[in-house]
């Protein structure tokens, strides 16, 4: 039986890697993928703690997170596609309409 610490530390590392990727990468699609990494790190923590608490409730939460992530991916990718059609670019630096 592997202690929960290992999984929790792995979850922290994955979350931080996702956060770094979000700030370092320059194109919208990869930034979007790093959000998915962060969601998955949260899922890992939820399942680890569900096992420690001996209940299946944590797994239900993960179920909802996966569903919301799917909805988010659909809408987010639609928005990225729309930005690409209008601006012909998906680099986050080139999109500065709100910068005044």
């Amino acid at each position: 039986m592997i202690p929960p610490n290992y999984f929790l530390i792995l979850s922290v590392v994955l979350f931080v890697l996702g956060a770094i990727a979000f700030f370092v990468k320059k194109d919208l699609i990869t930034m979007f993928m790093s959000i998915e990494i962060m969601l998955n790190a949260a899922n890992l923590a939820f399942i680890t703690l569900a096992r420690s608490a001996k209940s299946a409730d944590g797994q239900i939460i993960v179920f909802f997170i996966i569903t919301v992530a799917a909805a988010e991916a659909a809408v987010g990718l639609a928005i990225i596609l729309l930005i690409f059609r209008q601006k012909k670019t998906i680099k986050s630096e080139d999109i500065k309409l709100m910068k005044g």
Partner: protein, 164 residues
């Protein structure tokens, strides 16, 4: 055996995420991410969550990443990522990342003393389905409304305007 599998999957996951960050091609990034999600499915199976593991592989590594790859193929940008990035921002982000790791580990330290459970939790598809339709019925229905709204929203957003 369990430890061996854990370390194998953990190293593969972290390596795949690093590959996604380093890779300059978006399609390679997406493929690395599929590897990372599949390995995380293995980790979920190690954590006695077989149903979530299968859902992770089918929905995440399957459906969501196929969506990403579709969009990457539709956009298909051919530009090199400019090399003249400001170097100091990368070093600064590494320092901040280390700080964030320490901070998060300190904040979850309370969970480290949890006992290692030996009891087998009931988390098969039957048990999860029963929970989903009794205790979590309202969140479940709200999620279905969310999915419908997201579907309609995505279609309306991407639809080409008809010319009058």
């Amino acid at each position: 055996m369990g430890y061996f599998l854990f370390f194998l999957l953990a190293i593969l996951t972290v390596g795949a995420v690093l590959g996604m960050i380093i890779s300059k091609n978006q399609a390679y990034s997406a493929l690395f991410l599929i590897l990372a999600f599949a390995c995380m499915g293995g980790l979920f199976a190690l954590l006695e969550a077989p149903f979530i593991a299968v859902v992770q592989i089918i929905i995440y590594a399957g459906a969501i990443m196929v969506l990403f790859i579709f969009v990457i193929m539709m956009i298909n940008v051919r530009y090199g990522i400019p090399a003249e990035k400001k170097k100091w921002t990368i070093y600064l982000s590494l320092v901040l990342a280390v700080v964030l790791v320490i901070e998060l580990i300190l904040s979850i330290k309370g969970a480290f003393t949890l006992p290692v459970s030996t009891a087998i939790i009931k988390a098969g598809p039957t048990d999860l389905g029963r929970l989903l339709f009794t205790k979590y019925l309202y969140p479940f229905e709200i999620t279905s409304i969310l999915i419908i709204a997201a579907l309609v929203g995505a279609i309306v957003l991407v639809k080409k305007k008809e010319k009058e």
